[in-house]
Amino acid sequence: MSTMRTTESVEVLSNIALFPGHYRITLGWDPLTVKPGQFVMLRISPTFDPLLRRPFGIYNIKEGGVEILYRVVGKGTSLMSQLKRGDRVDVLGPLGNGFELTEDKDYLMVAGGMGIVPFYMVAKELLRMGKTPRLFFGVRKEEELILADDLKGLGAEVEFTVQERDGKVVTELLESKDIAGKHVLACGPEGMLEKVASICEAKGVESFVSLETSMACGMGVCMGCSVETKEGYRLACVDGPVFNVRELKWKS
């Protein structure tokens, strides 16, 4: 293991609504090392419904706390949205491979909606390497655009599509641009990722996608999070969530 995983009961430092159904929670947790694109498994409630931990990308690490951005979709995230300062959750992590970033490469980030989560830390790492982070960001509603404010604050170059406003999706943006020589990093809904993969393949550029699957353990034990690859099933939680698209076999 490259990083040390722990489980720990940690304090909620804050839990703020960003816009309807979307929150930023800050946990009083201090992991040793985290790679951009890694995630945690949170146990939100001590009872057995929900039973399993829930996976969330690590959005940011700052002095004394780890930030997570999340969207309410079901019973776990809805309980989570009710957490208040001083409440406790149990965190297991950091988990997964994360994005591999090297000095000699040129990166382009492509995110759809909450798929922006891993890219704040990617951007910070790119800046550390002296590169200017570049992001194509697609959202459905205008209000989601504020998810990119932190990245803009870092000095990242961000280009948008807002589906409800201009009827465009982020993959059209990607399609229309010259991305020769770039390494594309993408995160978002599965349909979008598949599209990103085929665009990149057509344009002959390498691409890496962060996948979401159902997960029970997050640590390679239950084999529940299998992803179909050309060499058989691999596990999203330990072999991923980031995969080189060349390895993957898409459903459609």
Binding site: M219, V221, C222, G224, V227
Partner: protein
């Protein structure tokens, strides 16, 4: 109070340092947990079901959560018995883990062959014969439904190895008593139950089964009351020791099974939720023993007092 004695005897030779085992398929090959605990302190580690050749398992989706439960349809994805012996077992031995190999075959032959490969291998303490996996098309559950087939499998494995044998039974066997008699006659040293209970979830938006295999196996606290009843019934007819499994999430749950007649227990889904869960269960059992001044855990086995009438 004297030292606690948490040792349990499955056979005269196969003695666990405490009654808490971790269940097959929920603890990987054991090595995934070394960051979280000293795995030698667990009663026994039952590793993921091993087959003769590596198996890919079922297509995704393989898991879905239900209220207090988890349905899985992993399909016995595993690295194969030889790979396990070569690449995982040495490290498990080095760490001092008590290892039970859970085995599985599509045909009686395959069970026999896997058992033969494990026979005499240093570091394997026992074999658990899985005749109750609901998630494979061939073999698996079929053997666990029919006493004659079960007898055949267990007899073949018995012939192939001198290792202590645990036969893992299905909660879905039409006649549990007949099943227990069959595997006892075939020479099993112990029985363990329950495996997961066949179950299903439907995505109402798509009007399709959630799992790629349509049905899967339910585990977790949801099934505990059913598992406990089955273990109690099994213990009341079995001549061999019974190992209780199903939804154990804490020491009290484990004690319920022990009091109902289980010599040892296995925790499964708990490991997925709390990597250190098994250790917590052990600690809580010890605390109970201290509180109730029970020096020897085996005094609790089957200590259930039934109401008169």
């Amino acid at each position: 109070m004297e030292e606690l004695n948490t040792k349990v005897h499955i056979t005269p030779e196969f003695v666990l340092k405490n009654p808490v085992m971790v269940a097959s398929g929920t603890f990987g090959y054991g090595l995934e947990f070394t960051e979280f605990m000293n795995i030698s302190q667990i009663g026994a580690i039952v590793v993921k079901g091993l087959s003769l050749k590596p198996r890919a398992g079922n297509p995704p989706p393989r898991i879905i959560e239900t209220p207090a439960g988890l349905i899985n349809a992993i399909g016995l994805q595993n690295i194969g018995v030889e790979h396990f012996v070569k690449d995982k077992l040495p490290e498990l031995r080095r760490l001092g883990a008590t290892v039970v190999a859970n085995i599985f075959g599509e045909r009686v032959d395959e069970y026999r062959e896997v058992a033969r490969i494990l026979d005499g291998v240093e570091g394997i303490s026992a074999i658990e014969v899985n005749i109750s996996c609901p998630n494979v098309k061939k073999g698996g559950l079929k053997f666990g439904q029919d006493p004659a087939s079960a007898r055949e499998v267990v007899a073949a494995v018995r012939e192939a190895t001198g290792l202590p044998l645990i036969t893992k039974l299905s909660p879905d066997a039409p006649d549990l008593k007949a099943m227990i008699e069959a595997v006892e006659e075939a020479g099993t040293d112990a029985i363990s139950l329950v495996n997961t209970i066949p179950a299903m979830a439907i995505d109402v938006e798509k009007r399709r089964p959630v799992l790629s295999t349509v049905t899967g196996g339910l585990s977790g606290p949801a099934i505990k009351p059913i598992a406990l009843r089955l273990v109690w019934q099994a213990a009341s007819v079995a001549k061999v020791p019974v190992i209780g499994i199903g939804g154990i999430m804490n020491g009290r749950d484990a004690l319920e099974f022990i009091i109902a007649g289980a010599r040892a227990v296995q925790v499964g889904t708990l490991n997925l939720v709390e990597p250190r869960g098994a250790m917590k269960v052990i600690k809580e059992i010890e605390a109970y023993m201290r509180q109730h001044r029970i020096e020897n855990i085996e005094a609790l086995t089957g200590s259930l007092v039934l109401p008169e009438r």
